[in-house]
């Protein structure tokens, strides 16, 4: 995880350097966007959250203390709060689930591509169906690959709590995915190639 370049960029941005802020945004926007997209299941919400996170950063740059938390940790924390507030506010609306129907990368084998896209869609839906405290732990640690300690700092909980939430979240995911594919409950369902 980048740290020292971030500190320098933050210092320059806090002094009003536009290029430094643009570099910060360029480095971290996709992580924030994908986190919000997985948490909400909506492209539109992810866009709004990404924008709000970086606008918040603009306003808090003068008071941001790099020694308390790395910039990415800080951005994850803001993104988590913004996403939770947004989901709470939009609870009465029904998401169009645009993120779950994301396009799949092109491969040589269309059957394999269809199978992987189907897997991703099922997995995204299963993650989205988790309670938010398990969902955010799964996304931070298992999907984005953050260390437990880092996830604990973002979630403001002890490391042990992160471990237990991950354990419970994985169990719930396995159950949901197993229900979706009863023939192979321990792994994700795959679309097998057919002869006809």
């Amino acid at each position: 995880m980048p740290t020292s370049p971030d500190v320098e960029l933050v210092q320059r941005a806090a002094a009003g350097d536009r290029d430094a802020f643009a570099a910060i945004y360029e480095r971290h926007r996709i992580v924030v966007y994908r986190f919000a997209r997985l948490m909400s299941g909506s492209d539109a919400t992810a866009e709004d959250v990404t924008q709000e996170v970086f606008v918040t950063l603009i306003h808090t740059l003068p008071t941001y203390e790099p020694q308390r938390a790395g910039l990415l940790t800080y951005l994850y924390g803001v993104a988590r709060n913004v996403t939770r507030n947004r989901l709470r506010r939009d609870r009465r609306f029904v998401a169009l689930d645009t993120a779950a129907a994301a396009s799949s990368p092109l491969t040589d084998d269309p059957h394999d591509a269809a199978s992987r896209a189907e897997e991703r869609t099922l997995l995204r839906r299963a993650i989205l169906a988790l309670p938010s405290r398990y969902r955010e732990a799964i996304i931070l640690s298992d999907v984005h690959g953050l260390a437990y300690a880092e996830a604990a700092r973002i979630l403001h909980v002890p490391v042990g709590t992160v471990r237990s939430r991950l354990s419970r979240g994985r169990q719930m995911l396995a159950i949901r995915l197993g229900a979706a594919a009863p023939a192979r409950p321990s792994t994700l369902p795959r679309i097998e190639r057919c002869a006809v």
Partner: protein, 156 residues
């Protein structure tokens, strides 16, 4: 593929990109924020200018009082001439006003008419309370309101 592997692959194979409109909105927010900060006068600069403001206000008021207290000879308002009846309100037409200060001064009708404001009986010795909108550079931008308040001496 295990669940853990599938979760890791979910991020690795995610080809989602932030739309350009979000990029533009964020950088526009930066420009707006920085532009606002650059345009905001510093406290130190404001503090440094305060004595000038006070001196300017005092000067205007003193000048108005001195002019108003000068003997006007036989100059009297004509009986037929009407005052600004009670109040004259001028809407400021300032394109980009920026930060403005309201300054209240009292002056004679004569002085007031010299500012280019058409009033009845411009040579009269009545007094007018004027609210002037002044920019940060000390230049008056507009007259917000003018009220006729009386005479410098008994109007007989």
């Amino acid at each position: 593929m295990t669940l853990e592997e599938s979760l890791r692959a979910l991020d690795a194979e995610d080809d989602a990109r932030v739309p350009p409109r979000v990029d533009a909105a964020v950088m526009a927010a930066w420009d707006t924020h920085m532009g606002h900060h650059a345009a905001r006068p510093s406290r130190q600069g404001f503090a440094m200018r305060w004595p000038l403001w006070v001196a300017a206000c005092v000067g205007v008021v003193v000048a108005a009082v001195v002019v108003a207290s000068r003997p006007a000879g036989d100059e009297r308002p004509s009986p037929s001439a009407s005052l600004i009846e009670n109040e004259l309100v001028l809407v400021p037409e300032v394109a980009d006003p920026g930060p403005l200060m309201l300054m209240r001064v009292r002056m004679t009708r004569r002085e007031f008419s010299r500012l280019g404001v058409p009033i009845s009986n411009p040579q009269g010795d009545g007094l007018v309370d004027v609210e002037v909108l002044v920019g940060e550079d000390g230049v008056a931008r507009s007259i917000r309101r003018a009220v006729a308040v009386g005479w410098t001496r008994p109007n007989r």
